[in-house]
Symmetry: C2
Subunit: 331 residues, 2 copies
DNA sequence: GTGAAAGCGCTAACAC
DNA sequence: GTGTTAGCGCTTTCAC
């Protein structure tokens, strides 16, 4: 039925070992035999069985990527960064969405380990002790991307979320001289915590007290922005500016304002976070914290290849630079 | 080092076969032995090796998905549909982007076949004879999603792109009584051809002649919309409406118009295609052809499971319904 | 430069 | 119910 390395060996009058050498580009083969083997491979339509190879060699050239949600524009961009570098190094990717559900995350890690992936790239919400235990007892390297491990145990690629949020909030305070609102996700993830902390630090440094009414948290969705704006408009004094933890929600804030007759940035300034492609596809274009999304994936994957190949790693926890991009949603 | 089924068997004083039965939920095991085996599995931290299992059973419970670009919002949504159903049926996914490059597509198909995937879900640009040849000589089932095979040889899940484009164009003609413009991608894909054909058919039926100046094609990107609008504005008579083959480009058209002082829909009406999430995240909200993106992926994956399990398939080429959603970018 | 042979860790008859 | 055994298709020493 299916043609195996044995069939090729027989037809070409060589041993399996020689065919294996040819297939794997081993130089210790006489050019003439190589040619002969290649010819019968072609003729028989032989296709190496990567599963058998994986069993024998204990390498699958496949890595596992666990991602919160592939349909999320931020993560799909990050995934593309992973993929491009993986392709460059000849790895395939088993990709799975976890919805940041801890049990699902743990289950996925185990499934991927069973499938004998050569490494795991993990993007998630919160890194718990159980995660760390899983990772440490894993036989293959693990790298975190856009995911913060408070213990700094696991290699990772991130930006400084706390600092970025601090800077954005600080900017808003300096511009308006008033207390900025905060809109974001209520999910209990370390990135959310870091962003919130940055916001609070900026307030504190300016001698401002946080105001419950000025903090609105919901889902990661656009609709959270709409809802937040409706909430703020019911207040006696609405905020003069708002720092939003995710661009998609920020778009909701802008439209929520516009739909209620406010002008952005004249009546209310909006500062986003991530710089997803949509940020330049709104009017007014969104001022936001630029995070090198694609690069986080790419650098994470590159880091993982280093661990898989036992190369030296200078920096276990990579912090990529971020910056603020001022567009038209702030004055 | 790693604990194998043999270690478990030895520790539990049973044979490998029994351990295998327990692991695979085979009912022919006495409850007491099952309990014993389960206990030593737990104790030893045994994790079944899926690669070995795949070699022995010739099933990997992994499918391959070839997609034009995972960072594209349309395809990432489709991918989520695939994934959810795959998870439901206990399959993992090897996901790769092809950029609709034919050579890369063929190469990916081969890589996935080498990895012994149990089936392939293919999303691409053009289905050529070479593709069909590859698919037919493949040992595993293949399903196309959002990808048109003119010969109807390969099972597929689509909507009727030609009809949908026809309807949208027709609507624009009836509203404005003028020749609508066409903006889209110049990529030579069958979906693009179908959409263009639908546009042309609507013109013909209304006794209108296509006008070169009213057809602008570029990349799939937002910027194509901006460029198209700039092109139209240079014309002596600019179009009263435009049918855009992709929502993301349509957003560009809207903003290209607005950035040049035109109002949508008053000065120019815009009709999109796909109903990506962004369509409701612009102002004015985009009127568009609603395509059940997530469902195309989900139904495609479900269809693939049927082929993989040798179930009966009533409909080899599934055509899902579409509809027009009228929002604020048309009058 | 090439071949022989022993696994890799598991499943799947088949026997008992 | 449970054990024995022969592969699955390949890589990898180790000889020669």
């Amino acid at each position: 039925m299916t043609v195996t390395i044995y069939d090729v060996a027989r037809e070409a009058n060589v041993s399996m070992a020689t065919v294996s050498r040819v297939v794997n580009g081993n130089p210790n083969v006489k050019p003439t035999t190589r040619k002969k083997v290649l010819a019968t491979i072609e003729q028989l339509g032989y296709r190496p069985n990567a599963v058998a190879r994986g069993l024998a060699s204990k390498k699958t050239t496949t890595i596992g990527a666990i991602i919160p949600d592939i349909s999320n524009i931020f993560f799909s961009e990050l995934a593309r960064g992973i993929e491009d570098i993986a392709t460059m190094y000849k790895y395939n990717i088993i990709l799975s969405s976890s919805d940041q559900n801890k049990d699902k995350e743990i289950e996925l890690i185990n499934t991927m380990l069973e499938k004998q992936v050569d490494g795991i790239l993990f993007m998630g919400g919160n890194i718990t002790e159980e995660h760390i235990h899983q990772f440490q007892t894993s036989s293959v390297p693990v790298v975190l991307a856009s995911t913060y491990d408070p213990t700094d145990t696991i290699p990772s690629v991130n930006i400084d979320y706390e600092l970025a949020a601090y800077e954005a909030t600080k900017t808003l305070i300096e511009k308006t001289n008033q207390l900025p609102a905060l809109v974001g996700s209520q999910a209990d993830t370390s990135v959310n915590t870091l962003k919130t902390n940055g916001y609070l630090r900026a307030l504190k440094e300016s001698g401002m007290e946080p105001n419950e009414d000025y903090i609105y948290k919901g889902s990661y969705a656009y609709s959270t922005g709409i809802e937040a704006m409706e909430h703020f408009l019911k207040l006696e004094n609405r905020p003069a500016s708002v720092f939003v933890m995710y661009d998609e929600i920020a778009l909701g804030v802008i439209h929520g304002a516009q739909d209620n007759g406010l002008n952005v940035p004249e009546d209310i300034e909006v500062f986003g976070f991530d710089n997803i492609r949509l940020a330049s596809m709104v009017r007014p274009k969104l001022t936001t914290v630029v995070q090198p999304t694609y690069d986080i994936g790419a650098v994470g994957m590159r880091l993982l290849t280093k661990y898989m190949n036992d190369e030296d790693v200078e920096e276990k926890n990579v912090v990529l630079p971020h910056r603020m991009e001022f567009r038209d949603s702030t004055k």
